[in-house]
């Protein structure tokens, strides 16, 4: 199986701080990896480096076959990133936002509707300004925005945060579906019990490096 993420001794600096300090990790296609670690361990930064948003200053990093030292842009179109922020235009209606996101990733407007339905955002909410949604509903719209791009590599930062029980199960189901259809999923989460159910591998980061790795299940 080819590796989707292949990091060797990666150092990355953001804002004058070494967010990754020599990270070695390899993630294979179809894996569901849960990232753990205390605050500031480098979980978010790892996801952003994978997405090509933070440049690497040392080591070798390969994502989806692209060498991040040469080209941080090309892999992005195959990657879906759900950050801490939801990346939502809060003034827009849910449907308008989704239409824009779909068009921006080259998907059809119909895909946007399907993605919203999949996340359980009902038609009733489509003509409501995102501003008026609850935190959980916003998170669902954010996940739907990501789903619409049909990424090969899913990078999610605390995706379960703000979601209710039903939402979490829904998300787990979506992630399992994605992995079984050949996508790779990496998500950061503190919640050990919950994630046990879907993660095929648990990786712990500490101080910008790999500290524990449960290995491929």
């Amino acid at each position: 199986m080819s590796s989707v993420v292949d990091f060797h001794n990666v150092v990355a600096v953001a804002g004058g701080f070494p967010v990754l300090a020599g990270l070695d990790i390899e993630i294979a296609k179809g894996e569901i990896v849960q990232l753990r670690g205390s605050n500031g361990a480098g979980k978010t930064s790892f996801l952003r480096v994978c997405a090509g948003l933070i440049p690497i200053s040392d080591g070798d990093a390969n994502v989806l076959g692209f060498d991040l030292r040469d080209d941080r842009r090309s892999p992005r179109r195959y990657i879906g990133l759900l950050g801490h922020d939801n990346h939502l235009y809060t003034d827009l209606w849910v449907r308008e936002h989704m239409e824009f996101r779909a068009a921006a990733t080259g998907a059809e407007a119909g895909d946007a509707d399907a993605a919203l339905r999949r996340l359980g955002v009902t038609d009733r909410l489509w003509s409501v300004p995102i501003e008026r949604l609850s935190a959980g509903q916003r998170r669902r719209v954010a996940i739907a925005s990501m789903l619409v791009g049909r990424p090969q590599l899913w990078l999610l930062d605390e995706p379960h945060a703000a979601l209710d029980h039903e939402g979490r199960e829904l998300l787990d189901e979506i992630l399992l579906d994605a992995a079984s259809s050949g996508a790779t999923v990496v998500f950061a989460s503190h919640e050990r019990d919950l994630s046990k159910s879907i993660a095929s591998r648990v990786v712990t980061l500490r101080g910008g490096r790999l500290s524990e790795d449960s290995g491929v299940a």
């Binding site: 150092v11 600096v13 953001a14 804002g15 004058g16 701080f17 070494p18 300090a21 020599g22 440049p55 500490r206 101080g207 910008g208 490096r209 500290s211």
Partner: protein, 253 residues
Amino acid sequence: MTQVPDSRHMTATTATRVLGTVALVAVVLMGLLGLVVSPADVVQGQAVRMLYLHVPSIWIAYGAFVLTSFSSALFLFRSRHRHDGGRHHDRLAGSAAEVGVVFAGVTLVTGMLWGRVTWGTYWQWDARLTTTVLLFVTYLGYLALRRLPADPVIRGRRAAVMALISFVNVPIVHFSVDWWRTLHQKASLSVGRRPEITGEMYWTLLYSTLAVTIVASWLIVHRYRVIRLEELRDEEALEALIASRLREDDVQA
């Protein structure tokens, strides 16, 4: 300038010590020539002595801004091929802009005082003064952008783009202000005609330009090295942080 002192000498090297001495002597000589030896102008009287500072300062300010733009362009488009990631160009752009702003300030001060004597007012909407004041503020903005805390590469790129924007704007500002002032009020312009400078005055002016250029180069070289030191300090702090992250790992693992 490319060879940064091997951190033993802080910002001075033998070469720049010599340059500094030369600059000091040149300035003393410039003062003597400009203020004592050269004669007063027939039309302008003593006021002509202001030009020995004013004109070289304009030249330095413009020259420094051109250097900033040139280095910024190299930083943006040529840094891939350099092992330092173009930092050299970035440092040069930053130090030149700062020195340029200082001399643009000198240009404005001397220009206004010259105007006080020649026109009777500190400020005329003279094309050159107006252009200079706009450039002065433009590059103050550029320096403000450089001072913001940010990743050095991000900050360097932002500043470099701003330098390019400012640079393409220089001729636009120049021509528009020039047009503006020549399209009407022709009279006020001819009142303030700069004198025909010949003979001793000419040589004094030429010499002053040389002296001020030496001073400016000394300043740019030293500012460049201070920026280099700042970067060294940041790099050292970063290495310490990386080391502490590695220890953090050992202790807890």
